[in-house]
Structure formats: structure tokens, C-alpha cells
Amino acid sequence: MATMNMVHAINLALKEEMQRDKDVVILGEDVGRDGGVFRVTEGLLEQFGEARVMDTPLAESGIVGTAIGMAVYGLKPVAEIQFMGFIYPAADQIFNHAARIRSRSRGRYSVPMVIRTPYGVGIRSPEHHSESSEAHFCHMPGIKVVVPSSPYYAKGLLISAIRDPDPVIFLESTRLYRMIKEDVPEGEYTVPLGKARIVQEGGQVTVISWGSMLQKTIKAIEGVDAEVIDLMTLNPFDEEAIFNSVKKTGRAVVVYEAPKTGGFGAEISASIAEDAMLYLKGPIKRVTGYDAVLPLPKLEDYYMPSTERIRKAIDEVMQY
């Protein structure tokens, strides 16, 4: 078993799935010759050729729209949108087609496609390169939204996403890409979509997080008897895992880096309020980015939830 970062783990997942299944193809801007702006697809063009690793014109709707056509025809395209802030031109294709073709055709056609896209703050980049707009996509039935928090889970989740019969948006935290290394097995293993994982068991408070915020959450709970849940799939999300934990701890904190209002934490909080309210000892807290246009690098550290802010919220709910 090799130790690797998330870039290498995702690259390995792509490589192994392409070796296993010749219907898996990659398309996007700079994914071929350049190996992707984050080098996630490095070496794949050389190994699989340009019929399977396609440098496309600079056109997000075109990338996703043609990927839909490929998927309907029987391929398993993995499309890359270079940054999540640039996914919006493709939103029409994602919302109006990818999400709906199975339903529109009453099951005759489906779109087994993955859209990989880097997301999140923390790498000192220009405007539009730090978005975390997962909530938009969670509000569209027919789409799955997956967010890995570490190299091991990135590989296993991506393999599941590629094999999934429905369209999956796969969010990769730019901050995590090279931040952590862990043991990642060579060869096939999968992490199921739609299932959360308990990162650490605990009895006094449930802290729910995903993607880039998980590491900060783990740091923030030091000395607290907290149960940490890595949601991993946001849509459809594992509500049972959350309810079971909250029923045990009686307290809940949700941590994510997107703006607070209308963020996916609202869905989680409301779900807990609907189905596990009577087990709660105190209010549910959300620790999030601010309701602000994402700042440029000078202010991004203020925007991003810090371990202190997470800890403060935990301490507050522990008062009850």
C-alpha cells in the first residue's frame, strides 16, 4: 500500500477504472496534454490516448452537454470542470438534462456520468476559483453530490461514482488536494455512495461535516466527547446515520464552508428538527462561511470556518 495525497488517489482511481472499462473516457479543459491544472489527470493521455482523454474547447456547457450524449450512447464519461466557479454555464445541461433524462424517458435512457470539479477556499486564488456551491446541486433530484474528505475516501468514492448509473457531481477540495497523505490501496475498492461514516465515536455532541472542513472539525473537538460524521455524499444524504448519532448525543453542530443561508446545513438542521427534535438538549448550530461574496485571498482566512469558530459552537451547545 502506498501513501499518497488526494491528487494521486483520484488519478489512481481514474487510471484503474479506465484500465478496467474501456467505456470510461475523460473530457475537459486541459485534462490531456497538461494533465489538468491540478495534475489530477496527469499521465492519462499518454497511457490511454486522445480518443479517451479529450482536451475540449473552452466551453463548460459543451463539456457537460456532450458528456450527456456520450453517456446516453453507452460511455461512462468523467467530465472535468476546471473550477466550481465556472460550472454555472453548464447548469442548464446539469439541471435540465442530466438530472431529468432518466425520468423524462421513464427509464429508457440514463446518464451515467461524473462531473469532477475542484471547489473551496484556501489556495489564495483569484475570484471565482473558490466557490462551494454544492447546495444548488443538492436541490435537484436526479443528481448525486459527493464530497470526499481524504485520499482514501476520494479514491473509493470516485470509483463508486464512475460505476454509478446516475449523474454524480464529485467535488474535490483544492485545499485538501496536497494537504494530507494517507495509505491508499492499489487496486479496486469502493466506498458506497449515500452512506456517511463515523470518523470518531462519541457521546455528547454530533458534529457533521464534509470535504474540506472535516480536518478542521477533527482539530476542533479535541478534549470533547464528540461524535464526528463525515457525510461524504450530500445528495442523497445518509439521514439515518445523523439521526442515530443525534438521538445518542442530543446535540448537533454542522460545519461547512459555503454561505450559511440556504446552505446544505439548513437541510440537515431541518431534518434533525423534523425527525429527532425530541432527543435534542439544545439548539442545532451551523458553523459556515459568511453570507458574502467570496473574498479574495486577503480576507479568505476570515471567511473560512476556523477551528476556533467550530470549537465555540461546540462549547455553546455543550452548555445545554
Binding site: G69, D92, R106
Partner: protein
Amino acid sequence: MPETTIESCEVKRLEILSENGDADESLAPKFTDSQIRELYETLVRMRTFDGRALNLQREGRIGTYASILGQEAAQLGTAYALEKRDWIFPSFRENGVFVARGYEMYMILQYWGGDERGIKVPEDINMFPISIPVGTHMLHAVGAAMAAKYKEDKTVTLTYFGDGGTSEGDFHEAMNFAGVFQAPVVFICENNQWAISVPRARQTAAMTIAQKAFAYGFEGIQVDGNDIFAVYKATKSAVDKARSGGGPTLIECHTYRMSDHTTADDASRYRTKEEVEAWKEKDPILRLKRYMEKKGLWADSYGKQVDEDAKALVDEAVKKAEAVEKPKPQDMLVYTYKELTPRQKKQMGDF
């Protein structure tokens, strides 16, 4: 250094069958008499279906419907040039293409009557459901063509859209990808002069839509869209070219939307009677009938029989569509994903 011309393009228009039914035999496709009759009978079936659908909507028996009146030759002439293995990606106005491809007419009515099961395309027809967001589906045709090329299938894809659709950004992206990847795809623009109330001149300042292809590095041609021979010939040539690795083609079928945009529209608000009247003489079916008369392929008894047969088929389709049981409410959930989500399973309990 002198200024030089480094590229120039010519825009061609193809016409074979005149309004009075005379064909340029040097250009006409080599159809047999039985093929001519098949074309005529299919055109009549398309129009009969379309007229009945409009009536059904007025009677409140189906929902909003988009008529094809006047565009029958553009739809049949293109679809007729395809092989069964080829794929069609239609917009919302291709009801005639569905009829031409042998799609059950009762299912088309079932769909416009508000039941998604009507657009569950049978396994033996390579056709995509209609796409309502204008211009977006051309990309699917290009992607499918790229996939066919990758799989070395020798399959061609063909996609329909209107003059309005060419103003959408996705039209540009689809044409651009098709050119860059030399995808085996044929773009059919049914230029029917009106995008609801907005005339063709407001969609582009270019003289033709056909010429847009040149900017993407492939051929474009305008044809008289009410001339089934010209439409067929241009499409067949484009399909053959795509199949043999020659890449995409754009065909602009210059036609006219004789009807309102949909049953929710009133075209008299924005265009003159005179304009519509002038197009009546260009009618695609009348034109083929005149040709058949000149060729000795016509008898009034034949014409009457074709009308009656079409009416009987459509009558049967209406009866069948109206006999279909309502869908189960659970259907709206079960086709969202391959498998129900845990939350959907709970929601199923409401029914």
C-alpha cells in the same frame, strides 16, 4: 505586405421540386414509384396527426401542443435519409419525425396529454425524447456522435432545431465541438421564420443560417425546406459523408411555420395574413401531389384513400391514447434515480 484573402465561402441553396410540381431530374433523388407514394402517404399521415392533435387540444383532451403544419417535408425528408441504426435528437416540434420513424402515434398523444410514458422510446427506435429547452440538445447529438465514433459504430446522429435555437450559446458550442472532433453528426435547422413572435431577422444578421457552418470548419447548405427532394438529397449526402468519416454538416431547411408557435400562442398578433397566404402555394404536400400528377402516379381515388387511411390510423391512435390508464403517482419518484433514495422510499408512503 498586401492584404490578401485567406478564406472565403460560398453559400449554396438547393431546390429540386418547384411549386408547380416540376422536378429537376438531373438533381432529383432516384426514388422508385413506391417510394414516392410512401413519402406522400407519410406526409399525409403526419399532417392528419398534427391537425387532430390541434383539435384535441382545443377540446381540452391534450395539453399545449406545437404544430408542424408546413414543415412536413423538412421533417420527413431528413428522417427518411437515415438508417434504422442512426440516432435522432429532436426539439419539441418534431412530432412529424416521430410519425416518420414509426413511433406509435398514440404515444405521442399520450405524451402531449401529460403522461411521460408516452415518450418512453421503444427499444427498437433510436430516438431521444423531445427537448424543450431551446437549443440545448444539439450537444447531446454531438456527444453521442463522438461516442459512436469512439466505438467505431458507423452510426450517424441527427439533431433538429429552429432558427431561434441558433441564437443560443449551446448551438455555438455544439457546432464547435462537432467541428473540432469531426463528429458524425448532421445539424438540421428548420428555419420556419418565427421564434414565437420574433422574426428570423432578429435571430441573426447573417444572410443565411447555413453559412454559420463555415465558421466552425465544415459545410453548410440551405435547401428549400418545403421541397422533399431537396431536403432528402442534402440530408442523404450529409449522412453518407458523416458515416464515411467526413464529419458534420449543417442543413438549413428554409420553411415556414404555418401554425401558431403552440396552442398557447396567437400568431395573428405579430404577423400578417398576407405573409401566411403567400406560403400556402409553397405547401410541401401539394407540391408532391402535383409532381405525382405529372408523373402519372396520381388518381383522385388514391388521394381519397390515403386521406381515409391516415384518418383511420389517427382515429385509432386517439382511441388508444384515451384508453390508457392514468400513471401511478409513484412513477414520479421511481424514475429519478436507478434506485429510490431512503427519503424517496418514505415519500412513496404518501400514495
